[in-house]
């Protein structure tokens, strides 16, 4: 009897904490999104869905932009991270953990400061563009800040380690005997990569995509610091509605829409890739 109770007693404090402060808040968010009213008149629960329609009507450009930026960020991070993870896993030798440590270095600096550092580096007359302009290598009104490139660049920078690590772990796990077997069966290097290495590393890519796409699409710090009025993302809208305007129902509706869109994206992506890989990635 005591044995059977043990796991429940162990899990209870943390499980309750997660139930009250993670699961219930999601329900609370949907509940608030169906309320009507304002900060002055007070909010009443009316089970109305009209905020959802209003929000989609008003803010679908920002929502689509966020998904687009998230997608661009994810594709670029895969292209940047894969060769690096591959090289460290297969050629890193004794210094594998040192390379991983160096890749994780940015995490020791506050996310906001990292992004402000890029704002500083990319400033119109800053240490990079200022010199390029002095040397007449770029035109006087060339700028990077307040363009989609700056925002996507910032997102790629901030989330790249989340892509490198899972891909590295998946590659590192591959039994090197498989590569030899493939070579013994007369597969050349390209064929071995395509038929052996790539399929086995896909769970890592899958984990990396989730860890990158979701926070990138929902981010508003990079758009706020590196972007301009043309790069407003859905997170910026939610932040303004919730914190500056106190339009809680509208903001909750928008936040729910974003969550639903991302969940749907992950679900479709998981179905396309096959459920087994999802579970593998989850277990790993």
């Amino acid at each position: 009897m005591r044995r059977k109770l043990a796991p429940y007693l162990l899990v209870m404090p943390g499980g309750l904490w997660l139930a009250i402060f993670f699961v219930i808040p999601m329900i609370a968010m949907v509940s608030v999104s169906m309320e009507t009213g304002s900060l002055e008149t007070g909010f009443q629960q009316t089970f109305s869905v009209h905020h959802y329609l209003d929000m989609i009507n008003t803010y679908h450009p920002q929502l689509l932009r966020s998904l687009k930026y998230g997608l661009c960020t994810t594709v670029i991070t895969i292209l940047l991270a894969y060769p690096m993870a591959y090289w460290i896993a297969f050629r890193g030798g004794r210094h594998k953990s040192t390379y991983l440590f160096l890749i994780l270095l940015p995490f020791f600096v506050t996310f906001v400061i990292r992004t402000i550092s890029w704002q500083f580096l990319l400033a119109d007359d800053g240490i990079v563009l200022g010199h390029l302009k002095d040397w007449h290598l770029v035109s006087k009104n060339f700028h990077v800040l307040a363009t989609p490139y700056a925002v996507i660049g910032g997102l790629v920078y901030n989330f790249l380690p989340f892509m490198v690590l899972p891909i590295y772990v998946a590659l590192e796990r591959i039994d090197k005997v498989l590569l030899e077997a493939s070579a013994d069966l007369y597969a050349n290097k390209a064929a071995t990569f395509r038929k052996v290495v790539l399929p086995l590393s896909l769970p890592g890519v899958f984990a990396g995509v989730i860890l990158t796409f979701v926070p990138a699409a929902a981010d508003y710090v990079n758009a706020q610091i590196l972007g301009g009025s043309g790069q407003v993302m859905i997170g910026n809208v939610i932040e303004t509605l919730y914190i500056s305007n106190s339009q809680y129902p509208q903001a909750s509706a928008l936040s729910s829409i974003l969550l639903a869109a991302l969940l749907l994206g992950i679900f479709v992506y998981a179905r396309v890739l096959g459920t087994r890989d999802v579970l593998d990635a989850n277990a790993g």
């Binding site: 904490w17 808040p25 999601m26 609370a28 968010m29 400033a123 920078y157 981010d219 919730y242 809680y248």
Partner: protein, 272 residues
Amino acid sequence: MRGALSNGLLGRLYTWLVIAWLSLPILVMIVFGFNDTKGKFNFVWQGWTLRWYRDLFAIPDLTTALRNSLTIALIVTLAAAVMGTMIGYAMGKYSFRGRGVLNLILFANVAAPEIAMGTGLLSLFLTLGIPRGYWTVVIAHIMFDIVYVAITVQARMSAYDRSLEEAAHDLGAGAFTTFRLVTLPVLLPGVIAGSLLAFALSIDDFIITEFNAGTMQTFPLWVYGSSRVGTPPQVNVMGTLVFAFGVVLVLANTYWLRRTRKQAQAVAALPI
């Protein structure tokens, strides 16, 4: 060219290039903490100074914000380490009804966007009429940190041999003694790694914190606010110190792990 490729020289060059790119903003942060800037903006290099290290605490609001961040991270790490370790240990050792649901919640917590967790929690506090401030941020950080400790400890449990506990039990050790002398030493590297991660995530968190802090300021919140009007060099210095502290802590932990592993290998090699 082919020779360079097969030697992995190109791969090495590429890897170091990306690492350099990743380090560039860090370098900027550190160097401009020594900039002898005169005006309000810390944009142009004006010579070396240690002034900002001396006047580190000259901005009272910034100092309060940093102190809030540090104390919150400390409280959160302790709470999350205890509750997260319990979950990770139970998930690694037992199979029980509800384990699948718990696993799903852990996965959802990692996968969910921060902004949804932040607005959700704020919705709950608004509905219940709880004022936002220091303790609501503590609650929020514990919520996401429990998960990271649990996952780290659970991963460590897969390397855990359950027959060790049975052996201890057969040798007459009670449940508590077994846990203290057998289980905990095996789990400890996982608990420490999870706690370091929890501390780092708490001190760095911006999005969930912004939604649940009310008027209370943490270090990232203050810096974000200042980015519109120009960040003072003290921010660079504090960022540098936090960075150095984190790096030293992780290196010390790695060194300690290597030493204990070597000792274990030495013991295992003894001809008994």
